[in-house]
């Protein structure tokens, strides 16, 4: 019901809902001939990521909805592009399977409640959850797709099998292209068995000085962890809601304060044994650790992946991806009043910034680049509702990207400028 309420209720006067791939193709052909730029959206849950668009028309994939084929034993599910993520996850769960990259429900960040969006949106943004460092990101879980390019031509690439080197791997290119290359109509996801058990070892009250070391040690061990996150309570930012303790209120957490969480998944016996090995290996004190069982562990990681720590914030949110070795160094260099947490064992930082200016954002970008990472603005605020460079790029990659864009969408009618000015 909640999802239904969140279905497209945009104010756009020119919102179009094609009902078939052919209709998408006919419409884009028409816009191509008349040079009319269009905004492509799935269910619009991540519409605010990227640069704001001013298009004459908006094409929603809302009505291209439904599961086309799901073969659990073949480990794939083929869906129409506008299919709700919740529908996909529900059916997979019934068969004890999952999209292993842990797709993020951005509803919590933008609205303070679930608004999971569509399959196409997940692929277009390619932003993955905590298990990413172990299993790959969304792009590693797309086996094939069908789409309509900027000339209105229906194109396809890939298939339904994992091992496939027939032609260029366009599935990778379509992921993280934010609808600027083609309007997706059909996606085949690779699915994997869901683990029987999930347990989490929580180490309390570490700081940014030592937590990344624990994350690194755990990931580099043979224990095979599938989640490694640090949720600090410092620095205290007066303009952010310091909500670690409130968000992660779980019965078995012994202490308040910062949380360093390590997840272990697998069969029951193995998970129990690995939990013990991990404690021994990290040499942690029982008093300062908590162990979460499957039920609580799942709640914890769902809240982490859905960014509930930043639920309905009014501030800017950005995402920094860096080599894990640079994590602590970078955080020291950043303005110390920002609220943040560290995921992917130190390779990802989510950050909430208050009183941010474009100049300050760009100076942060310079520091991130110095550490060989990149930064993207994910959510704007009232005081910084626009930045020129939402995503990071250099000249050589910009030129190549522009050429790629032209090969799909020569008249730049699909989400023009959504990622970069000129693309």
């Amino acid at each position: 019901m909640e999802e239904k309420l969140n279905s497209p209720t945009f104010q756009d006067t020119d919102l179009i809902y094609p009902e078939s791939e052919k209709e998408v193709s006919d419409l884009i052909k028409k816009f191509y001939k008349s040079n009319i730029p269009i905004e492509i959206i799935g269910l619009g849950s991540k519409r605010n990521i990227g640069k704001p668009l001013q298009c004459a028309k908006t094409l929603s994939l809302f009505k291209l909805n439904g599961i086309i084929e799901y073969l659990p034993e073949e480990l794939y599910i083929k869906v129409k592009a506008g299919t709700r993520m919740s529908e996909i996850e529900d059916i997979l769960e019934k068969n004890k399977q999952q999209l292993a990259f842990e797709p993020i429900d951005f509803g919590y960040l933008f609205l303070g409640k679930s608004n999971y969006g569509s399959a196409a949106g997940q692929i277009a943004c390619n932003i993955s959850g905590p298990r990413r460092f172990k299993v790959g990101s969304a792009r590693d879980h797309v086996l094939g797709f069908r789409a309509v390019n900027g000339r209105g031509e229906i194109i396809k690439s890939g298939g339904t099998v994992v091992k496939n080197v027939t032609g260029y791997d366009l599935s990778k290119l379509i992921c993280s292209s934010y609808g600027t290359l083609a309007a997706l109509t059909e996606i085949t996801f690779k699915v994997l068995p869901a683990a029987e058990e999930s347990k989490t070892l929580v180490i309390h009250n570490l700081s940014i000085d030592n937590a990344p070391e624990y994350l690194d040690k755990a990931i580099s061990s043979s224990v095979d962890v599938s989640g490694a996150v640090f949720l600090p309570i410092h620095p205290i930012c007066n303009d952010c809601e310091m909500s670690v303790e409130k968000t992660f209120k779980l019965n078995d957490l012994k202490n308040l304060g910062s949380l360093t969480a390590l997840r272990i998944e697998g069969t029951k016996k193995s998970v129990n044994e690995r939990m013990e090995s991990l404690k021994l290996f990290l040499n942690v004190d029982e008093k300062n650790t908590s162990a979460l069982d499957t039920f609580q562990s799942k709640i914890l990681w769902k809240k982490i992946k859905n960014l509930e720590l930043f639920s309905a914030t009014k501030n800017n949110i950005f995402r920094i991806v860096i080599p894990p070795s640079e994590c602590t160094k970078l955080i020291y260099e950043l303005p110390n009043k920002f609220k943040y947490f560290v995921d992917w064992g130190g390779a990802l930082i989510w950050m909430e910034a208050c009183e941010l200016s474009e100049g300050k954002f760009n100076s942060i970008r310079k520091k991130v680049l110095k550490h060989n990472g990149y930064i993207s603005m994910i959510k704007y605020s009232d005081y910084l509702p626009y930045v020129e460079d939402v995503f990071t790029i250099n000249n050589a990659r910009f030129n190549i990207s522009q050429d790629i864009k032209k090969s799909f969408d020569p008249k730049r009618i699909l989400n023009p400028g959504k990622m970069y000015t000129g693309i």
Partner: protein, 498 residues
């Protein structure tokens, strides 16, 4: 040898050969520019040795700057360039053109950095796949993709072909284990795509160039992920009374939620041939056989192996042998890895195919191959990467009999078409190259192929980088698609192929 149409020779370029050699000698050490016909002979073919063509010039740059200058020069002079790693590819991706500069990355042979903190290795592209694992194994790390030719194939070539191996169901292929590259485009532009971060932003150019078979850029540096070695690895050798039972067992293992590190299947012909060859203790009376390898923690492997055993028994397994130690496990694999050379003992020649199909169609496709074998009166042996549905049927024939060769070609073509018909693809890991170029229309329509060609032209305006590969030249679109081996001798007889 099948006659192969290649892009038209540019006579004007050929006529300027001496000037071009002189110019190239200004870019690199003059000793590393080869143009005498005797010097060119070793480079006239790659792993697909049925096709031979001497290049116009061979060049060995030593650094990225030289690669950039060579490409920039060739681009402005409209000279074709064919990049080459170790030249072990099986689809003819590095086959030279008569008027090309063959750009060899053999001098890029150093591992540049081992970074345990970020769990990656930075390497030059000419380093072999196996050397990467060897460089990190003392700390119990390894590089996951393991193509059969890993002792010889280069990591840059792996990127170009998106190489797989027997463990790709669980650990993915090159594209899933690659963090970054330094690439040089045809106009000389040098660009870093990705790096040591897990994701990269903007269009996934790294994903695009992986598996692009040397058509989009030349790789000059590679950063790959390394993984901690699993605590325990065990393999089971399971015999079945029919192919269907083996196929059903594969499907049931996956359906039960187990993702084996490797799952290989062989048919009766190959079980006997390989067991004769290496005495691996295979069940010689079985109609089909599975090798199921599980890895992880000790308790995981023990528990899952027990489940595999039960599923196999349910599917009428006639024999189940579980490796007691690493030596025995490697012995199981030794037979599988000897599958190709063992075929050399069965017939003077064989063609190796490389399609991928949905696992559930395994029994159906094997039956179809058997019935085609009867139709063409040619024996066939089957080896499968069953876990990911990648099949390698080996058609046996005698090339001295001209009619047998034509029949074999037709047979191979029908197998690949059948793979596509049941929802599979033309090539799982060998690449399209020149070999399956004309079969692309079986899988893709004109729009699909045109979109790919437009990408090619966007990055290489004059289509000078490795032209004539991957995309169809002929209209009839269905002639080739095989690896041709004569007298059991491949171009690289010492490299394992499986």
């Amino acid at each position: 040898m099948t006659k192969l149409q290649m892009p038209k020779i540019d006579r004007k370029v050929f006529a300027r050969k001496d000037t071009i050699v002189k110019d190239l000698k200004k870019i690199v050490n003059p000793e590393y520019v080869l143009d005498h016909k005797d010097e060119l002979r070793p480079f006239e073919t790659d792993g697909l040795s049925a096709y031979k063509q001497k290049p116009m010039i061979v060049i060995f740059p030593e650094n990225t700057d030289e690669v950039s200058k060579i490409l920039s020069y060739c681009n402005s002079e409209k000279i074709k360039v064919v990049p080459r790693g170790a030249g072990t590819g099986l689809s003819g991706g590095a086959l030279p053109l008569a008027d090309c500069v063959l750009l060899c990355l053999g001098k890029f042979n150093k591992i540049l950095e081992i970074d345990y903190k970020n769990r990656c290795v930075v390497s030059q592209p000419g380093v072999t796949n196996l050397s990467i694992t060897q460089a990190v194994q003392d700390k119990n790390f390894y590089y996951a993709p393991d193509p059969s030719s890993q002792i010889a194939c280069s990591i840059g070539g792996n990127v170009a072909e998106n190489s797989g191996g027997v463990h790709s169901l669980k650990y993915g292929t090159t594209t899933n284990n690659l963090l970054g590259v330094e690439a040089v485009f045809m106009d000389g532009t040098i660009s870093r795509l990705g790096g040591k971060t897990l994701d990269s932003e903007g269009y996934d150019l790294l994903g695009l160039i992986t598996g692009s078979e040397g058509l989009l850029c030349v790789i000059t540096e590679v950063t790959v992920k390394i993984l901690k070695k699993p605590e325990e690895i065990k393999a089971a050798l399971i015999g079945f009374p029919t192919i269907e039972d083996g196929g059903k067992c594969v499907t049931e293992i996956i359906s039960s939620g187990i993702i084996p590190a490797g799952m290989e299947m062989m048919d009766k012909e190959l079980i006997r041939a390989t067991d004769n060859f290496v005495k691996a203790g295979y069940p010689r009376d079985a109609e089909s056989m599975l090798i199921v390898e599980l890895d992880g923690t000790e308790s995981d492997v023990t528990e899952l192996m027990e489940r595999v055993k039960k599923i196999s028994q349910k599917n009428k397994a006639t024999s189940i042998k579980i490796s007691k130690n690493d030596k025995e496990r490697l012995k199981f694999w030794e037979g599988r890895k000897a599958a190709f050379p063992a075929c050399g003992d069965l017939a003077p020649d064989y063609y190796c195919m490389d399609g991928t199909i949905p696992r559930g169609k395994l029994a159906e496709v094997l039956k179809e191959i058997q019935s085609l074998s009867k139709k063409y009166n040619l024996p066939v042996a089957n080896a499968f990467h069953a876990g990911d549905g990648n099949l390698h049927p080996l058609i046996m024939y005698d090339s001295n009999d001209k009619k047998a060769l034509a029949k074999t070609e037709k047979f191979g073509e029908e197998i690949l078409k059948y793979c596509v018909k049941v929802g599979g693809v033309l090539t799982g890991e060998h690449g399209v190259g020149i070999e399956k170029r004309e079969l692309m229309c079986e899988m893709f329509n004109n729009n699909d192929i045109q979109q790919q060609i437009k990408i090619k032209k966007a990055l290489d305006v004059s289509s000078l980088l490795n032209p004539g590969k991957v995309y169809p030249i002929l209209r009839k679109c269905a002639e080739e698609g095989r690896v041709h081996i004569h007298g059991g001798k491949t171009k690289f007889p010492d490299i394992p192929r499986y």
